[in-house]
Subunit: 376 residues, 2 copies
DNA sequence: ATCCCTAATGAAAGCGGTTACATAAGAGAA
DNA sequence: TTCTCTTATGTAACCGCTTTCATTAGGGAT
């Protein structure tokens, strides 16, 4: 037997001997003190403290089958939506006495599968955010360990959904009120539950208000994709765009800037998630997706299910709200000004008739609780 | 004894019985097959496969003292520097067969301490990124479990450092070449090792080139802080700023925009980390800190140390390089134009003499491998 | 044929807890 | 007083796997 790498910690046996009680008593002093005489508990805990004893989670897990760990599996930690989600989830798990494994699937279904397999024995349950896995395999994993899914609808599997439909509907109304007649939705691939939901809300509300709605689906919802689709976007005749998320919205803003168009004077942009929205310039009008809350909720659901296995499947829905900031304004009279070719395609072209708009009024400090982005 | 929540997996005993061998043989078939006759290994593995047996990590950990887990403790997952770092670390750990716990200390030393305590028994070692903890406590934890620190110098403790000094020196040279005579460094609190290192590089190089260098220390390195310090920044007479990280740099850009100043025409800005640099507009000139690489290196160091405990303390240094993009340009003739008060302080003031600069030439597609920022 | 050595396997004692079951000591109730 | 029922604690059997030590069977060497 290989000795543990460092000085081995005091065990329950040592504490028992020192306190003059049995192992069982020490164990109970920690896990079920109500079974013991108060004086005994006191005695045990104090000697434990004196010796620096801490119950060994691994041993406890082996014996009880409860690890007090959960795992959070997500497609990409570097995506701020997921970072925020993770932050919320980890904090909530910690609060409830659970430690969190992180699994980054790098957007691939197979890696997701492997992570789920590998971590299964070490955790009491999983939170699976925006899974890339097919339904069948998700169900297989769910059959082995409790599992909560975020942003995917699977009948019979616990899930938390972020409902941004009403937020997007409000966003469309805002644009209609500003006089926009043609708007566009820039989405992710059709496989994304969230993107589909948002697209539907935009189309329906737009139709109800008599707007013309164009839809563009980016190959992947990235900054680059948002930036690249701007030509296509302008061709639709739209004067405003709603993006599937803030990152794409920011990309669209960059693309517009490339063409010398100013936001919101020449074009309005709305994002979703409210995660990098306050750091753009102008600050982005967006639909708050309460990412952190979604993570925390999922953890709660999972842990509640653990203590009450018979509980019925609950499906909390988080409703996102429109937050109006600086990237939305009146529709430009006469449509979008004839923008030059993008700068990087024609760097030598003279800067023609570029109007600098009146400065958008940035919502002063009331930009909502901005996520802290500190540095090293 | 409470039964494990779900269907219990087949154990080593079952496999042994089915294969007609002893437990020990099954165990060895998995961990030290070279001790067994090839035919036996074959027989055991095939019946194991048939039964769907997978060795239980928890039991293995209890018995061997090796968990095959590590923990990554960092101040804030939502900070893109740390998300990137985490991504690199987790991927590397996975490659080497280790699972990763995530601990977010929310920038507080005490929580960091608790996380280290709580996770200690479940992991073979820690990666501690930019710790907020005091040296004494770090050493205490390091005495209990192997521990690698990122971006902090502690004699005798393994660490990986990201050396951005030469990158910042190059950045100063770039600015000097552009004719800037007064520059400023906007840093984090003095407690940050990285910020100190960068400040020194800027001051020394600036002095060598005959530039005047101002230093501003933000209370926290956040977007808001960067934005808020712009007044102070302009008062120094500087025509260019180097920020401790990209987030602060982005904040500075927002603050300059508030005042109607354009980058890089009126003012040059340089960041650090290269993590959100390609998503700003114009794309940010920055010093690449190879965040992901730092995370991966730290994991390697940790795991190598685990297999060879006697190995000498190694201190890999990752050298960051200057990446020139669109936020740096020639110093404005006659200094920074007299900017109006920030928009949000005087929203009614007419937009006076605002010049729209010639469009900065954005480095076309060669903006480097942009981190993927996808959405749900 | 005898001895020694090696290779392959098994038996069983942990790893550090939890918990079913047994036991002992009081507290009421009859 | 005797019996039953709590209440507080101890004993010991696991949890699933690893590993030491013992055992057995061949395979040369002498």
């Amino acid at each position: 037997m290989v000795k543990p790498p460092h000085t081995s910690a005091p065990t329950i046996r040592l504490v028992a001997r020192e306190a003059g009680v049995s192992q069982a008593t020490v164990s109970r002093a920690f896990s079920q003190p109500e079974l013991l005489a108060p004086a005994t508990v006191e005695k045990v805990l104090s000697t434990a403290k004196r010796l620096g004893y801490v119950p060994n989670q691994v041993a406890r897990a082996l014996s009880t089958g409860r690890t007090h760990n959960i795992a959070l599996i997500l497609p990409d930690v570097a995506n701020p939506f997921f970072s925020a989600l993770m932050r919320g989830a980890q904090a909530q798990a910690y609060k409830r006495g659970y430690a969190t494994f992180l699994g980054d699937s790098d957007e691939t279904a197979s890696l997701e599968d492997l992570l789920l397999d590998k971590l299964a024995v070490q955790v009491d349950g999983f939170v699976l955010a925006s899974p890339r896995l097919d339904e069948e395999r998700i169900r297989r994993h769910a059959g082995r360990r409790p599992l909560v899914v975020i942003n995917r609808e699977l009948e019979g599997i616990e899930r938390v959904l972020v409902d941004t439909a009403s937020g997007f509907a409000d966003a469309v109304k805002l644009l209609a009120g500003f006089g926009h007649r043609v708007i566009a939705y820039v989405g992710a691939p059709r496989s994304s539950w969230s993107s589909q939901q948002r697209a539907r809300a935009v189309c329906e509300t737009g139709a109800a208000l008599g707007l013309k709605v164009a839809q563009i689906d980016a190959a992947r919802p990235s900054h680059e994709a948002g930036r690249a689709c701007v030509d296509q976007l302008l061709n639709t005749g739209a004067t405003a765009a709603l993006a599937v998320d803030d990152v794409v919205a920011q990309g669209i803003m960059a693309g517009l800037a490339d063409r010398g168009l100013s936001v919101p004077h020449d074009f309005s942009v709305i994002g979703c998630d409210d995660i990098i929205a306050t750091t753009t310039y102008p600050p982005l009008t967006t639909v708050n997706a309460y990412c952190g809350l979604a993570g925390a909720k999922a953890v709660d659901l999972l842990l509640n299910g653990l203590s009450e296995p018979a509980a019925p499947v609950d499906t909390p829905v988080i409703v996102g709200e429109l937050i109006v900031r600086g990237t939305t304004g009146p529709a430009p009279q006469g449509g979008v000004p004839n923008a030059g070719a993008p700068a990087d395609r024609d760097p030598s072209s003279p800067t023609t008739s570029r109007r600098r708009p009146r400065r958008p009024k940035p919502e002063p400090q009331a930009a909502g609780p901005s996520s802290s982005r500190k540095s090293i």
